[in-house]
């Protein structure tokens, strides 16, 4: 059914080369491209390793209240990962990612409140499933159909979905209205309760690492390569015989599931859920993380979440009023001058397109 991947890969890489090396001589272009691939392959694992090391050591050097803060950041990084899959890889602008994050949060909060279910092996799968279901429904509706939907429609549709959910949560008495659901019981495993602190931190970090590795495997597979192709040139991927809309719906659903997992962790960590969690504010927050860090590189999303949250935590003590303004200015600068985010200072663009997987054939560029 599918074309051999090497064909697709060549097509994507050809596109990237046309853009990057248009003016260069063909021979040197091939060499440079391969140099950059090698360099990228060296740099990326180093960055990933450093981030992991820093994350592992953090609770040992941080004070207790900072460990709690770091836990929150790790959960948000997990959330950012879900958005990066959808936007950074498949090029679907999901302005309503918080819908899946928040609805899963509300779901597990209701489980804990009404049914007294806080077992970690029940609530986390439940949250993931809620995110997955909502994403499947919304994504299926927005993305599938006889005619492909325009990017504008998908982005505004997800935005509207998130906004409508926010309004619903605010007005629905069962969900606590404006105040949300306070004092959720802690997540438990047997007799042990996960409360804020190092144990919760390492639990969340472990989950992040597992999900990260799964995502890394996914985006380096044939499927991931086809996704990157969708982002670069959707029509071309469709001409290769892929069902572009199905691919998009699948990755949107996976993204929703990860957002759901993050949302349920967030609900238990904070101990309460409130309407903003499904709304536009959180939806745009996650967009900020990924744009800052660098979309289309998984580690960029994680770094973006850490930097935005870290700097805002640090600045909000002294510059509470002007911090959002600075954030807006920085975001504008990044969009204008560094569209691939901060990570692009150290990582070449090739990392986003087809530099992974099997070695790129050099015959293509030969005269």
């Amino acid at each position: 059914m599918l074309k051999p991947m090497s064909v697709v890969r060549e097509a994507i890489v050809a596109d990237a080369d046309d853009e990057a090396d248009g003016a260069m001589a063909k021979g040197t272009a091939a060499e440079r491209a391969n140099d950059r691939v090698k360099a990228g392959r060296k740099i990326l694992p180093i960055i990933e390793g450093l981030v992991l090391l820093a994350a592992l050591l953090a609770p040992l050097v941080l004070q207790d209240y900072l460990t709690v803060f770091a836990t929150r950041v790790i959960i948000l990084a997990l959330f950012a990962l879900s958005f990066d899959l959808v936007w950074g890889y498949a090029g679907i602008m999901s302005f309503g990612q918080a819908l899946f994050f928040g609805s899963a949060g509300y779901g597990v909060a209701l489980l804990a409140r009404d049914l007294d279910i806080t077992n970690i092996f029940l609530v986390l799968p439940a949250g993931t499933l809620i995110g997955l279901t909502f994403a499947l429904l919304l994504g299926g509706f927005l993305l599938l159909g006889r005619h492909p939907s325009s990017v504008i429609f998908v982005s505004l549709g997800t935005l509207t979905g998130s906004y409508a959910a926010d309004r619903l949560a605010r007005g629905w008495y069962y969900l606590g209205g404006q105040n949300g659901i306070p004092s959720i019981a802690p997540m438990s495993l047997g007799g042990y309760d996960f409360t804020e602190g190092p144990a919760f931190y390492y639990l969340v970090l472990g989950i992040l690492v597992v999900v990260y590795l799964l995502c890394r495997f996914l985006v380096r597979s044939q499927f991931g390569l086809a996704l990157a192709g969708l982002r670069e040139n959707e029509q071309r991927i469709a001409f290769f015989g892929y069902k572009a809309q199905h691919l998009k719906a699948i990755i949107f659903t996976i993204g929703g599931a990860i957002a759901g997992l993050a949302g349920s962790l967030y609900a238990f960590h904070e101990g309460f859920v409130w309407p903003n969690m499904v709304g536009v504010v959180v939806s745009t927050q996650v967009v900020l993380y990924v744009l800052f860090g660098g979309s289309g590189t998984l580690i960029g999303a994680v770094i973006g979440a850490v930097i935005v949250e870290g700097v805002s935590f640090w600045l909000s003590d002294n510059y509470r009023d002007i911090w959002p303004i600075i954030l807006g200015l920085l975001l504008l600068l990044v969009i204008l001058f560094r569209p691939l985010g901060l990570i692009s200072f150290v990582l070449g663009e090739r990392e986003r397109v087809g530099s992974f997987g099997a070695k790129v054939k050099e015959t293509r560029n030969a005269p």
Binding site: M93, F95, F141, L142, G145, H147, S149, S150, V151, I152, F153, S155, L156, G157, L159, T160, G161, Y163, A164, R167, L168, R170, G171, W172, V280, T284, V287, L291, D321, I322, P324, I325, L327, G328, L329, L331, L332, I335, L336, P339
Partner: protein, 285 residues
């Protein structure tokens, strides 16, 4: 009977407000292909300028007249500096204008604090028709909306400026070849859309009072209205705004407000899914 009349007036007046807000959004979306996330903040700025005039002891009317010009001038500058870079990429344009909106919104929030500031209505009191009373200011808004709508239509369909705008919309390269300065036209169109938002903000601030999230409240409703009406023409978004505004105001009279609130959005998205070109398809006026 009296109740029905009051309800009809409420619906009409809210519909007029939505139309007023969507006018600028629709013109920018239709004529330039940009969904301007900062539009809500242009509305907010218009409201803020009116408040500023009132706080400084000037007549409120002066603030309301100044608002569209100030916001329009700001729009012109922003277009030349920033928006211009986004024409090729609609998604990047959304993110960029979102960042702009964030800056403006937070700056205004810093200036006014977290308060709800009230501005009195320049025309107070009510109009009495028999036993029924309707707010004079809301009535004025309806009248001004109709006037502005008519003037915009005439501007786009009857003047040479409107002709140039439409030419630039339909075929930019041919327009350039015919000697129309398309960058100038884009700048002027964006400024015009921003000015309309400023006017809308100035007119609605006595009704909703001034707070930092004033614009955000209408932004998504505005986007949905533009999509329902159809991007590409002047009349499409206006029609969409009429429908969305009327529905949002009318449904709470017949069902629980929460359900009505969400239902409007669901209906709108389903409608757009099955009729992507909107109520009124096609380009032009």
């Amino acid at each position: 009977m009296a109740n029905a009349f009051v309800a009809a007036f409420e619906i009409l007046s809210f519909g007029a407000i939505i139309v007023l807000i969507v006018l600028g959004l629709g013109i920018i979306a239709s004529m330039m292909g940009i969904f301007n996330f900062a539009q809500g903040e242009f509305v907010l700025l218009g409201a803020y300028i009116t408040y500023l005039a009132y706080a400084k002891g000037l007549p409120i009317w002066a603030g309301m007249v100044a608002a569209p010009f100030v916001v329009g001038a700001l729009g012109f500058v922003l277009e030349a500096l920033i928006i211009r870079r986004f024409y090729a990429a609609p998604i990047v344009a959304m993110l960029g204008t979102y960042a702009l909106g964030l800056i403006i919104r937070e700056a205004v929030r810093g200036l006014i604090g977290g308060f709800y500031l009230t501005v009195p209505e320049p025309i107070g009191g009510s109009i009495d028709i028999g036993a029924m009373h309707i707010s004079a200011w809301r009535f004025t808004i309806i009248v001004i909306t109709l006037l502005v709508m008519g003037l915009c239509y005439l501007l786009l369909s009857r003047t040479s400026f409107g002709l140039r705008v439409r030419a630039t919309l339909e075929n930019p390269s041919l327009a350039r070849a015919s000697g129309i300065s398309t960058p100038l036209i884009y700048g002027a169109t964006f400024a015009f859309g921003a000015a309309l938002a400023g006017l809308a903000g100035a007119l609605i601030v006595p009704v909703f009072s001034l707070f930092a999230d004033l614009g955000l409240r209408f932004l998504i409703q505005g986007f949905v209205a533009v999509m329902v009406g159809g991007v590409g023409s002047f009349i499409g978004p206006v029609a969409g705004a009429g429908v969305i505004g009327t529905l949002s105001a009318a449904l709470p009279w017949v069902m629980a407000p929460v359900v009505a609130d969400v239902l409007v959005f669901v209906l709108a998205i389903v409608f757009i899914k099955f009729r992507p070109q909107g109520l009124i398809a096609g380009k032009g006026v």
